[in-house]
Symmetry: C2
């Protein structure tokens, strides 16, 4: 491989899937001394442009975020529609679902990972449309799903 596909210092998030984001967020808030964060609901395909294995999807999730220095902890409660989150929760139960890296160019990183046998699982826009996320199927190779996070520059 010519150049590294991911920059280690861009590791920026650890994401958990949970059954009840409100209840788990309360536990985190207690353990870490934070106020309980706002729960954010992601929109459907119309706004989020979510694709699961390349096909448009209405999958949504309720999210909560905590800042911990370099790392954001993300709690995700998926709805019942098939998605990377729902699949993980059904198969593995609650736990760490992904680690996320900031990228400058999703398409280039996605292509480099796909060439190494790590294809895209799910993609979509941020809730406010300010960027996009991409989950890649890296579990067999890296032991975890990797998420690419790109913040759009021209908005």
């Amino acid at each position: 491989m010519a150049a590294p596909m991911l920059q280690p210092e861009t590791l920026c998030q650890v994401g958990f899937v949970v059954h009840d984001v409100k209840a788990t967020a309360k536990k985190y808030a207690e353990a870490f001394g934070f106020p309980v964060p706002r729960i954010i609901e992601t929109p459907g395909y119309d706004k989020a442009k979510t694709t699961v294995e390349g096909k448009p999807s209405e999958a949504t999730a309720k999210l909560a975020f905590f800042q911990t220095g370099q790392l954001v902890v993300e709690l995700i409660e998926p709805d019942k529609t098939p998605s990377v989150w729902r699949d993980f929760l059904d198969k593995n139960g609650e736990g760490v679902h992904h680690i996320a890296f900031r990228v400058q160019d999703t398409k280039a990183t996605e292509a480099a990972l796909a060439a190494e046998g790590m294809p895209v699982l799910q993609q979509g826009l941020f809730v406010d449309g300010s960027g996009m996320y991409t989950y890649v199927d890296s579990a067999a190779q890296l032991g975890v799903i990797v998420e690419l996070l790109e913040v759009f520059k021209n908005i």
Copy 2:
């Protein structure tokens, strides 16, 4: 709860259990452009003073570490002896096993977590004896096992 039990900015490590640490470390090295790290074998009870649910244990593991800014990624290949690592691998397969926080006082943090229903699962010394680790049973409440890492000051 009076004071927070954990300081979010002390989040310092994400640990994965894997079947073959050498093979996975090679994949990480390729993906991130690192040299393949040295594999470290942890010693038995005599040196590591490992306890699993309070009882002395000969459980060991092979470890590899990557630095990623604030976060260290730890890859763990457990031996066959029961341990928090082996149990996770047998039940869940490869994946994120724990998130770790630096603490100043293991006993105090351990007591605070135990009082909230998160008792100690496993404890032991670092490979070089320079500190200690403690896994607590926080999976039901926080969706993941929490590890406390204390570096001893007077050595």
